[in-house]
Structure formats: C-alpha cells, structure tokens
Amino acid sequence: MQITNVTYYSFPLINVTNIDVDLLWTLTFVFVGLAVLYVVFVLYLKNKLTTKSKKITKRKKELAFMLGDFLFYEEDATKKEKSNYINLKVEIRGLLKEKFNRELLSEILLDLYKDVSGETLQRLFKLYKDLGLHLDAFKKLRSWRWEVVSSGILELTQMQVMEAYGFATKFINDKRGVIRKQAEIATVTLKPEGISYFLDTTQYRISEWQQLKLLDVIRNIDDFQPPQFKLWLTSTNKDVVLFSLRLIKYYKQNDANASITQLVKHKNNQVKTEAIQCIKEFCIFEALDTLKNVFWKCSLDIQLLILDAIADLGKEDEIGFLQHVEKKSKAFVVKSKAISAINAIAPETIMPTEGMDEKLKNESPEVPFVEVEEEIIYEIQNQDNNELSPFEGIDKERILGFEVESEEISDLPAKIVMDDIIEEFLESGDTLLDKGDSIELEFLPLIVEDISQSDSKIGLSEIGNEVPETKEEEIDNKEVSNLNVTYEEITAEPSSNEIVENMENISDNPQPEDKPLKLEFIPLVVANEVENDREDFTEPTLLDCLDYLPHESVFKQLFFERENHNKILLLNTIQDIGSKHEIELLKEIVNTEENMPIKERALEILNDISGKKHHYIKAEARLIDNDELKSGSVFKRLFYAGDLDSKLMLLDEIAAWGDDKELTFLNTLIEHPIQEIRERALHAKEKLQNRLFPEEKINVGYQENDQGKRGEEHVEANVIETEPKLNFVMDKELGSPQQKHKIIQDSTNNSGELMPLEFCFLLDDLEIKPPKTDTVLDVDFEFTKGFSGNQVNDNYNQRALISTEEQKEQDSFLKQWLSFPAKILNKFNG
C-alpha cells in the first residue's frame, strides 16, 4: 500500500520529499475546476459583452435622436416645436435619474464632439452642462482610481468646461502619470494662458508623445496667441526647453538667436538637434562658429545636422572646415555629407571620382573651335510599329560645337544608331533633303560644312517631325540662336539640269495648303565666329535648298546593302524625309524584296508618298494601281478572297448580275487551272454574253496546252491589300470603326485559309480584318465568351446563314474563329 501511494523513498544521500499521489489527483481536480470556471467566465463575459453592446446601441439610438432635436433646435421655432422641445427636456431629465443613462449620454456627447463643429459644437457644450453631466465628471476627480480621475479630466476637457481649469491644474504635477498627462492637456486646452502655466509649473518630464499631443492641442486652438517661448529656454526642466524650442520653431519666433545658439552646447542630444534645426530654420549665421566648435564632440546624427546647417548657411569661409571634416572623419555618411556641403556652398568644387573609366580619367576634354562639344545620340527603336523614336535622353544643355560623335549600341539588336546611316549618305555627297513633302526639322542645329572638303562630321540631332519639343531642346534652340551665325554656302553640286527639274517639280506640285516649307533648323554655324547680328538671319526655305537636292533616291544604294532590320529603319527614314524620288526605289523594293514585312512596309510608304493606292499581287509579283483594280470587275476581289465554293457561287452571280467589266475578268478565268472554275467561268461568260449581247453568239472554249492539258492557272494567289500589315488588333467589339482596312487572303494551295463568300461581305460590313492564319497564336486580339458565342452568331445569322453544311465541315475561318478560345485554353492547359 505504501508502495502505491508514495513514489519516492528516503535515501541516505539526500532526502527526497515524498509525493502523495492523492495530492496529484487533488491538483488535477483543481485544474479541472478552474478550467470549468474559466469556461463559465468566458461564456458569461461573452454574453455580458454582447448584451451590453446591444443595450448600449439601442439606447444610444434613442438618446442620439433626442439629443439631435436639442442640438438643432432653433430659437425662433414655432409654438409647437417649443412645446415639443420642453417635453423632450423633461423626458431627458427623467432619464438622467439613472446612472447608466447619464454615462451613456456623456458617451454620446463625447462621440458627437468628434463629429460636429461651429455653433453646433457650442450647443453641445451647453447641453452637456445643462444636463448636469459635468457634475458627474467632477465627481470622478475625487476617485482614488487613476483611470476614473483621468476619464473625468478628459471629459471636462473635451466638453470645454472652463470651471475645470482650476481642478486640472492641481493635477499637473500628480505622481500618477496618466492623470498628470490628462491634466496637462486640460490645462493647455481650457485656457489660452494654460500653456504658459504648464511650462512654468511642470516638474515632471514631458514625453515625446505628450509633446506631440500638446502641440496638436495648441495648434488647433482658434486665434491662439503664442507666448514668447524663449522665456522657457532657461528652464531647468530639459523637456520644457526642448518643447519650447519646438514651439519656437513651429511658431517661427526668431527672436532668441543667442539662446538658441547657446543651446547647441546642451548636453542633451535632442535639445542640440532642435537648436541646430532652429539655427537652420532662422538662418542664424552667427551660430556657424559655435557649430564648428562643437562639431567634433557631437554624435554622428548631430554632426550630420551641423553639416546640413553649414551647407545651408555657410559661405566659402567654411569650405576649409568642411574639407577638414571630409579628411578627418571616419564615418562615411559624415564624409559624404561634408562633400555635399562643400558643393552646396561652392558648386562643383569636388568632382565625382568614383566609377570613372580609367582610360578616360586623365584625358583632357577636346575643345575644338567652341567650348563644349555636342554629343547627340540617336537611338532608333525597332518597335513593333516600326517607327523612329528618338532617344529620350538628349541631355546636353548646350550646343556649342559641331563635332558629332555617333555611338553605336551594338548589343541591342533592336536599336541602331542613326548616325551611321546619315553618315553614309552624306559621304555619298547627298543631303537628306528633297523637294517632296513638307519637311519639318525644327529640332536641330543642322550644322553643315563643306562636306566634300571638310573633315568635320555632320549629324542631325533629330529626324522626323513627330518629336515633341523638350525643355532641353528649347535650351538648345535658345543657345543656338544666341550663337553667331553665318550662313554658309553648301557646296553640294548637283547638275543644273537636275536643279531645273527639281524646280519644275516643286512648281508642279505645290505644297498642300500652301504651307511655307519650314527649315528652321539651319542655323549654319561656321566655326566660332562671333557676330551678334541676328537681324541678318532669314529663315531659308526649301527653295533655298533646292539647288542641292539630288534627283535619284539617295537611299537606293544604302538600302540594298543593309540587313533586314536596318532596311526597315531606312524605310522609316524614307517615310519621314523621303520624296517622290523614292517612288521608283519603293516600287523596286516591293517587286524585288523577298522579305514580306519589308515589302509591305515599302508598299505602305509608297502609297503614302505617291498618294495612290498600289497593290501587290503575289502570284505575278507585280504592283498594280488601285485605279487598275477599280476599273476591273467588282467581283474580282471577292472572287480571290473566297474559297472554291464561294468562287463557284460568285461565278453564277456574275452570270446573273455582271456587266461588260466582268467579261474581261471571266476571260482570265477561262484559263484557270481548276476545272470546275474553268467550266463555271465558261458557262458564266456564255450566260453573261447572252444576257448582255443577246444578238451575238460567242464561242468560248478551253485552251489546251501542248500536252493537251488545260491551261495553267494564271493567278495562283493574289494578295490584295490596302494596308500591308501582317499583325493587327481586332477590337473586342465587332464592327469597330478602328478597322478601316481589310486583308483578304487567298491561297488555292490551302483551302483551309479560304473563306466562304458570305464572309467576305460580312467582314466588309463589320469592318473586320481576318487574321493571318499561319498559326492561331499569331493573332493579337482577345476574345470574350460573349464575343465567341452570341455576338458572332447573331451577326452571322443575320447576314450569312446561307452557309452550307459542306462549308461548315471545312476548316473555315469561322470555325477557326469560334474554336480560337478553345485553342487558346488548350495551349494554356498544355
């Protein structure tokens, strides 16, 4: 029995207390009991909190409503309103008999205090007193519990009970911190002279937080007349000094310079900090010597502040001290600050030394004829839109020289430096200017020397007129215009015939809208000759330059030697500055170039420059004019865009509705390699002729070649484009007005890429460009479910429900279109 009850025995070495197992069980039960008690407490507490919260909310609603009537009661109210008001007052008086209601009313008024202002706030204070709630607050001041006293002071303070001022001041040096702090706030809040009283009498330290709150109180007092806070700079309470300094700084009382300067020597870092900030704020120059004297005895943060102040206030006399600091100080931040202070006093005294290229470090800058060299870098971004975009950071503020260095960014495949191109054709003796369209090169000082004779490099600062003028450019222009300018002869030597021809072209093709040609860019700077005679300056027009313009495209040679991406860039340049001289080159490019994007870009530019619409027919590898197309059959384009069934249907339609233009077209189809087409075309032609010329009978038949086979297809595939872009964005909404152009592809080799005829109409009507069907992911647009489902179907149903079952089975564009979201999802799902 003993063994079971007692665990530990006595040993000779040490006496171990025997532990009764029953004790353990007893403790266990105690803990269980406590646990149960806690559960009960938790439930009780929770229930109490919930009930109280509900009760308070309910009562608050009622009382708030009543208080609202009180607060917004007008003196000139009607008799009835006055009667109601009095009844309400009686009712509230009745409620006030209960302590709970009084507490609640106080709480509501304190809540309202945060939300109202002006006259209503004054009424709130009056009501608080009228209801006698302040008496309860005064009672709280007699409590022994610090939190009750504090809440009493807080209530009286917030309700602006002036009578509480005397009571509050008694607590200003209370040993209980929370009460003291509330009393301090009450003292400062209730009377304007409270701050003075507080600073005079407080014996305790004032925490940072308390200072923050006190400042918040006084800066929110209306018409507060701050006392002269310098009076407390001599206080023995360092927190009073500190707070006074802060108040001096806040209220900008700059009449205590000597005291503030003296406080830099205070042993407390916070006081020092504030004093230095005041010195800086009030520009106390006489404090500089003191600052320098105390510098080495201060902590790091104070040192930084001192350096900051010296940077602001110091003159060149201080540079010696700062250099000394820079040398002696071991702290990186102090050194750094010292350097920055030196440069603040005397800009660029200390130049950057870190991270310099060793090769360039010791080189003296080349100054040719003028003081500063110009360095303008062109960066042409080969973006998707293939537009020239100038490098944004033209960071030179002054353009004084004319030696332009080009910088090639070889590691960026999408970027090239334009200077190369420019340089090349300058070397060829040509200029960029031609007599074509209006050229606005407002951007630059185009500095041209005698190219053939001078070794100077010439560069343009911008190409294209789309670049917004930046500040830098404004500065550039200003500085350029201030230069002494002499208009130099440009010695390009075109033949006289060419000049005449150019002149004729100009007169034949006047500029649209009769705009004068702007060449504002030609301040031709000759060395650094100084002539401040701007009046002599007359803006040269294009005519002035015609003598020097070439007749053949200057780009031709360049173009065919270039890589593809450079070709695109060169085309961009042609678009920007090219003239009609480039038309032939562009045609040549379109006809000979194998790279489709280049070809299409060239076509686009060609259309721009020529003002005509050209189309490229792939099968024939030739260009045709829009006029040529226009004069042809209206069915032609639709025919080549449709699939086989569409073509056959279209031929029937031609037979039924066509006119004599269609006969020519049908003639071309008679030799079509597809038998069905040939037959249907023949039939259609016959029918059409019969319809148009019922008197005549024309025999038509298949032409056979030598091997007895039918004639080869004349047109294999035509691409008829009005905008030769491969990629396009399809608006989510069908029929977006953005889609003005159409791309219709035809390839008899791939029937899957063809469209049913009705789609040609549908797409025309909806102004949709069908996607390039190489891969479905090449298409750059988004589909929504609504789009892929309802919208397409609705549109389609209205206009194109005649599609046959066979067409549906084919891999038609519609099918691809509808299955696109599924394909995308499949791609994403791997």
Binding site: V21, L24, L27, T28, F31, R246, Y250, F332
Partner: protein, 475 residues
C-alpha cells in the same frame, strides 16, 4: 549496475522532472497573473485620447518600414499597397528585393512606376551588393523605396534597409503580413511615451489571418481558420502573446520581438551591428544584443510590447511546413542562447539574466528535449517494470489539466481584451483545440524542436526552408 545506485539515479531523474514541472506551474501561474494585470492596465491607459489626431503632427518622428522580399512576385504588389495605406504622416516603406529569382522586382517596377535612382551607399555596410535603388515617379508612391540587392538572406536584407534608412525608427516586418492602418500610430506612441527609459524596440502581437477576409489590403472580417493546424497555432499564439509576452512586458524582461512585426530604434540597432546574418533566429538575437548593449552601457531602456492586434499573418496549414518553421525557430533559439550565454544567471543583467534568460533556456529550449526524452523514459520504465502506473497517470493528468486550464485562461483574456471571435461556436472550437492539442499538435512541435536541435548540434546544414502561403481570402 547496483540496484541501489540505479534507484538513486531514477529518483534524481524524478526530482529533476518534478522540480521542472513545479517551477513551470509557478511560472505560468505568475505569468497569468502578470498578464492579467498588464492587460487591465493597458486597457485603461489606452482608453484616452484619439490616436488619429496625432497622425499628421509636425513632430511625428520618422519611421522606415523595411520589408524583405524574396520570390514574392505573387503578392508583392498588393502587400506594398497595404503598407502604403498606413495612417501616419512621416514614414517610408523600404522593400528590399533580396535577389528574388521570380519577377518580384519587375512587378514592383511596373506597378509603382519605379525608376532607378543614384544614391551613394555606405561602404561600411557589409550587406550583399546593392544592384539598384528605385523610387517611384508618381508622387502618390513617394513613400516607397525599393532596393534591389544580391541574395543574402533575410537578415542581410534587413541590414541593408537599416543602413539605407534615415529615419529615427525602423520597422522590420514580413512583407506578407497585413498591418492595420493605425499600426504605426501605436508604434510611435509606444516609442515616445516613456520619459525615464529609452525604448529600444517595440513588438506586437501577431494574429492569425488564415480564413480572414481581406479586401484591398484591409482586414474586412475576422474568421476562425478552417484548417485545424491553423486553429491549433491560433490557440498557441493567443497563449504566447496574450499571456506570455504580456507578462514578460509587465516586468520589463522581454527578450524577443517577432520578426513579423518588430520596430527598433535605428541608432541602437546600428550600434550593435544590426541583424546577425549567421543565425536563423535573427529577430530574437537582435533584441538580446540591444538589451545587452544598453545594459553594458548602463543606459535605462526598455522593450515595449503592444497587445493590440495590429499585425495579421498567415500561418502554415501543412504539417511539413510547420515542422520546418519550428525546426528553424529551435535552431535560432539555440544559436541565440549560445551566443549570449554570458547572460545566464548573470546578476549584472538583472531580471534579464536571472529570470528571462533562464526561462528561455529551460522552458523554451530545454523543455521540448526533456519532453521528448521523458516520453522514451516512460516507455523504457514501463518495459523495465519500474513504472509506477498510478503515479504516472496522476501526474500526467495533472499536467494535462493544467495545460488545458492555462489555454482556457488565455481564451478568457482574449475575449476580455479584444473579443474578436464573435461566435460562441468559435470559442468552443478553440476550447476543443485546447483539449486535444496536447495529443495532436504538441507532439509535432516537440518533434520539430528536437529535429532543429539535432541539426544544430550535429551541424547539419539547414537554411530557412520555404513557407508556401495560400494567400488571404479575398472579399
């Protein structure tokens, strides 16, 4: 072996366990009492004044929030947005991209229109090289600074932030934590309200955000986690923060501040060398270091603790991740205690040396090991036939009921202080967790602690591990 000697050894083992348990009971009871008093005091003291009035004060001290980010691309933009919406006038958010391998930096640059800025860095800063310092071009994000640096771990990232910050106080937080808008006001108040002691650090309670509803970076609805593992951790956090740290705070003996929500006096943090990059328990180590420094310099100081629920974080819902996390905590604990072993029962450090450090040594580091070996001892004794079953059952039940009672007490104070889980069902669920925790959750924690210690003692390399977060529930 002589049976007499064997009996003596057994008895001494019993004595150790008994004393250990008895002291534990006393300490926990005292902690309960101190925590209650502190809670009362805190509640009364903070019922005065309106914090929001202070948020625009010209005297408001500057704070930098340093948030290290490593592969946080999924949530970084939203997390920064939350940090930028805090109610305070004078603060900066410094996100340190610690060489993320994902698109964290790119997302930040894109979302906040960041540009690289030129800024000299202190060559004395021993952190990994800084690749760039970014600021936003937009004024609305002017408080944001992003530092891109080579990967060096959380401590290294925090040190970089410490060096680059120019504020009086720095806050080191986990970027995926959700701070309540008024968090900084509480922090500033805690730093500024003392007059006799310098507040070197401020820590706060970490609340469990799993299953809570977060919308636009703000906490919309507090919910009890759905995962049982998260529920257990919620209970554990409640015990630890509501009772444990509250009690240690009451006697000014706090030696740890959670890495997810810790604010420091930058000057002191720099003087002590910032975070230790050689430990995984850097949050604990820096507090040890700062307190030691202040003690050594005879400077009156304290570490403040804010019990208000200001920081919400997601806790692991998978056992594996939880074990990794606790393994790391155990290693960090051991590393820190070892590094500052001079404090152990050293009266020079006052309560820190005589109470706080020993508590950490015996009840945070040693307890799991004792539990683990105690468990095997019981099995051994049982097979040796020397287990006094009646005693074993009695003492086990006593310890068990004590732990349940203590958990209930923590729940009680949580309800009294903040009453955040409004449904009675939630309270019962937590109580159920308290009942089953010793069997289901506690063994995991003990195992993780033993594993961590084993790794550390046998120098098995182990880093931080990864914590996969599921993300807060969006409204």
């Amino acid at each position: 072996m002589d049976s007499g000697v064997f009996d003596i050894i057994l008895d001494y083992i019993n004595i150790v366990f008994l004393v250990f348990t008895a002291v534990l009971f006393v300490m926990f009871s005292t902690m309960g009492y101190l925590a209650s008093r502190n809670s009362f005091h805190y509640k009364n003291k903070n019922s005065f004044g309106d914090l929001s009035k202070i948020m625009a004060s010209p005297l408001a001290p500057s704070i930098t929030i340093i948030a290290p980010a490593y592969n946080e691309g999924m949530t970084i933009v939203e997390n920064i947005r939350s940090l930028l919406s805090l109610q305070y006038v004078n603060y900066e958010v410094m996100v340190v991209n610690d060489g993320s391998k994902d698109d964290t930096l790119e997302k930040m640059i894109l979302a906040y229109d960041l540009v690289k800025t030129e800024r000299k860095t202190d060559p004395q800063c021993k952190s990994k090289p800084i690749r760039g310092i970014y600021k936003s071009k937009q004024r609305s994000f002017s408080k944001l600074t992003v530092i891109d640096k080579d990967n060096g771990g959380k401590s290294d990232a925090l040190n970089t932030g410490l060096h680059l910050s120019e504020s009086k106080y720095v806050g080191c937080i986990d970027v995926d934590c959700l701070l309540l808008p008024e968090a900084l006001l509480h922090v500033v108040k805690s730093f500024s309200q003392r007059t006799k002691k310098r507040v070197v650090a401020v820590g706060g309670v970490i609340r469990v955000a799993n299953s809570c509803v977060i919308s636009g970076g703000t906490l919309e609805e507090i919910r009890l986690p759905k995962s049982w593992l998260a529920k257990f951790q919620l209970l554990e956090y409640t015990r630890s923060f509501i009772l444990g740290r509250m009690a240690w705070g009451r006697i000014d003996s706090l030696l740890i501040i959670s890495g997810a929500f810790g604010f420091f006096d930058r000057e002191i943090a720099l003087v002590v060398g910032g975070y230790d990059t050689n430990t995984v328990g850097e949050d604990m180590e820096i507090v040890f270091k700062m307190r030691r420094y202040m003690n050594d310099q005879n400077l009156a100081h304290t570490v403040e603790y804010i019990p208000d629920p200001l920081c919400w974080t997601e806790v692991p819902e998978s056992a594996k991740i939880l074990i990794n996390q606790r393994d790391r905590w155990a290693r960090g604990n051991l590393e820190t205690l070892h590094k500052h072993r001079e404090m152990f029962f050293n009266p020079k450090y006052g309560k820190l040396g005589m109470l706080s450090y020993p508590y950490w040594f015996f009840y945070e580091w040693l307890a799991p090991l004792l539990e683990f070996f105690g468990f095997f001892t019981i099995i051994l004794f049982y097979f040796l036939g020397i287990l006094n079953l009646a005693f074993f059952v009695a003492i086990t039940l006593m310890v068990y009921t004590f732990s349940v009672m203590f958990s209930f007490y923590a729940i009680l104070w949580d309800v009294y202080s903040y009453n955040q889980y409004k449904k009675t069902k939630d309270i019962f669920t937590l109580m159920l967790c308290a009942i089953v925790e010793p069997f289901m959750f506690h063994p995991l924690v003990v195992y993780a602690a033993v594993r961590g210690n084993f790794k550390k003692l046998f120098k098995i390399n182990s880093g931080w591990g990864t914590i996969t977060r599921k993300g807060f529930a969006k409204a």
